[in-house]
């Protein structure tokens, strides 16, 4: 089993660090600090900015450093052959445990008699020690010295860019109010013509209808969408800069901004109309939380797809008359994407209970049926004892982690019988097939090679194994850890005989057993 190469190690290290930083940020609230000591006050004020700086620094380092490290690739790659230092990783976990304990003492005031300044110093030392030993677990000190030297000015540019981003964030807050005001006027104008009895109050930025009102908060001004679009557009143009004509292609960025801002205006107008025409719960519930993402997804896909077809921006535009070549990724990804798109749509038009869940089943069946000829060449043989064992193991882990980690919730009401039957069908048949095609059939092999079809389903590489399992786990939201472990087990099942059928069957058995557990115990929150 080959160890991950150097870039993979650095990316894995960055992911673990980012995950730990974000986890601590979510759990700790600087507002709860008892600010009697100077050092605690310093921590309370600088902590959130230090976290933002760290994340920005990691992002910009990923942009600036690879070109500087490229000339030293051969000498640096020799470090990738050094084994991972598990004892240091164990020490990192120990430091992390100390950090968690000190955090609890500091943020929950468990020991008020302790000196606050000393606690902050201990807390900072534990944090620095934890990060240092983690870095040394991945690469030896000599490798870090060489990376620092090879990076040269790149480290300065990275720090400067991260600091500039933070400074700009101060100024950005001043734009919220005027942007919200412009959005208000753009939404109010067409609604006046459509809705009888419509009234707009510019002082409170509220749209009044006969039965439904919408207040445009500053955060609904459209600036979040603009921010996302600029990040996406900049990253896209940077990543594929050889395919675009510069500086012409830079015009795509303001175009993207106009489109996403316009879509936000349409979103708020539709939200008002849905509420006005009799579905205020859907307007304030699913539509409110999903429509922004739908608008961004549509705008970003249009940006990526159309910009390559425009001769004004593209250095080698795709011709409209050019016959489309085969797309090897589509049969593996489209069924899963169809489920995601259907889920987004069904949540958008729901409030609380997702009664449109069957849409996911229909979308998956349609996509699987469309690509059925491609699947005939894939190995679907099932070794039932293996699938049953792995599927049961995942269920046991899933339930054990649920008991350990999950916060207590109020039990949802039992769903209607027809809905439950369709839900079980989806969870045991279409979801396992679509997810195994996407994560094990495609992503696991695509991370090993661009020509993923040439990679054997029995091949094992640490880097694709860990990343594809992490991606699979993250899609399970609050149950990410259980999802990561499940992804690893299904990947190992696939590797054993190289059959997608084994992984899909194990996945389906887990979901079927989970459904049985949910129905038997009434724990519908597990669905």
């Amino acid at each position: 089993m080959p160890l991950p190469p150097l870039p993979a190690r650095l990316i894995l290290l960055a992911i673990i660090l980012a995950f730990e930083i974000v986890s601590f940020t979510v759990c700790l609230d600087s507002a709860t600090l008892d600010q009697t000591s100077y050092l605690i006050r310093l921590l309370a004020y600088s902590g959130p900015w230090a976290v933002r700086f760290s994340i920005a620094f990691l992002c910009f380092a990923a942009c600036f450093l690879p070109p500087r490290l490229a000339p030293h690739r051969h000498s640096l790659e020799s470090f990738a052959r050094t084994p991972f230092r598990w004892p240091l990783f164990g020490l990192h976990l120990f430091c992390l445990a100390i950090l968690a304990l000190l955090s609890r003492i500091l943020f929950a005031h468990l020991l008020p008699a302790w000196n606050g300044g000393l606690l902050v110093l201990l807390w900072t030392t534990a944090g620095c020690a934890s990060t240092t030993v983690l870095a040394l677990a991945f690469l030896p000190l000599s490798a870090w010295r060489q990376i620092c030297r090879a990076g040269a000015g790149g480290w300065f540019h990275t720090a400067l860019a991260a600091a500039t981003a933070l400074l700009l964030s101060f100024g950005a807050t001043q734009l919220w109010r005027p942007a919200a005001r412009l959005t208000f006027h753009l939404v109010a104008a067409p609604l006046r013509a459509i809705v009888p009895g419509f009234r707009a109050d510019p002082a409170s930025l509220t749209l009044h209808g006969p039965t439904f009102d919408v207040s445009i908060a500053e955060a609904c001004s459209g600036l979040e969408g603009i921010g996302l679009m600029l990040v996406f557009g900049s990253a896209w143009l940077f990543a594929f800069r050889r395919e675009y004509r510069f500086p012409h292609a830079l015009a795509l960025l303001p175009l993207g901004v106009v489109v996403i801002y316009g879509l936000n205006v349409v979103r708020i107008a539709l939200l008002f109309l849905i509420g006005h025409f009799g579905a205020p719960e859907i307007a304030a519930g699913g539509f409110h939380s999903q429509a922004g993402w739908i608008a961004f997804t549509v705008a970003a896909l249009a940006f990526a797809h159309l910009s390559r077809r425009m001769p004004a921006f593209s250095s080698a535009p795709v011709q409209r008359t050019e016959p489309a070549g085969p797309n090897p990724a589509a049969p593996y990804l489209i069924p899963f994407l169809a489920i995601l798109a259907a889920a987004q749509l069904s949540v958008t038009f729901s409030s609380g209970f997702e009664y449109l869940y069957p849409l996911r089943l229909i979308a998956a069946v349609a996509a699987l049926w469309h690509f059925r000829h491609h699947y005939r060449h894939l190995p679907w043989r099932i070794h039932w004892p293996l699938a049953l064992g792995a599927g049961t193991l995942v269920l046991v882990l899933w339930l054990a982690l649920e008991r350990l980690i999950a916060a207590p919730v109020t039990q949802p009401a039992p769903p209607p019988l027809a809905w439950a039957i369709l839900r079980i069908l989806g969870a045991t048949l279409t979801v396992p097939i679509a997810e195994e095609l996407a994560f094990r059939g495609f992503l696991l092999r695509r991370l090993a090679s661009a020509d993923f079809e040439s990679v054997s389903l029995q091949a094992f590489h640490w880097w694709p194994f860990l990343l594809s399992s992490a991606a699979f786990g993250l899609l399970h939201g609050p149950r990410a850890i259980a999802g990561i472990l499940a992804g690893m087990i299904y990947a190992l099942v696939l590797r054993r005989r190289g059959s997608l059928g084994d992984a899909a069957a194990a996945h389906g058995i887990t979901n079927a057993l989970l459904a049985a557990w949910v129905l038997a115990t009434g724990q519908y929150q597990l669905w």
């Binding site: 400074l167 609904c220 990040v231 940077f238 993402w293 961004f296 995601l340 798109a341």
Partner: protein, 52 residues
Amino acid sequence: MRMLSTLSILIVGLAAVAAAAVVAAPEINPASGVNAIALLSGALLVIRSRRR
């Protein structure tokens, strides 16, 4: 010219990070972000995977 273009993209990227990092708010709900980003990433992979 390429340097200038790259620099421009980075400047706009900086502004974007600044604008996007202020607060979590209803326009973009973080709770539903993972599915949306997965959908977008998958669709982009499909777009980029087509052989000419």
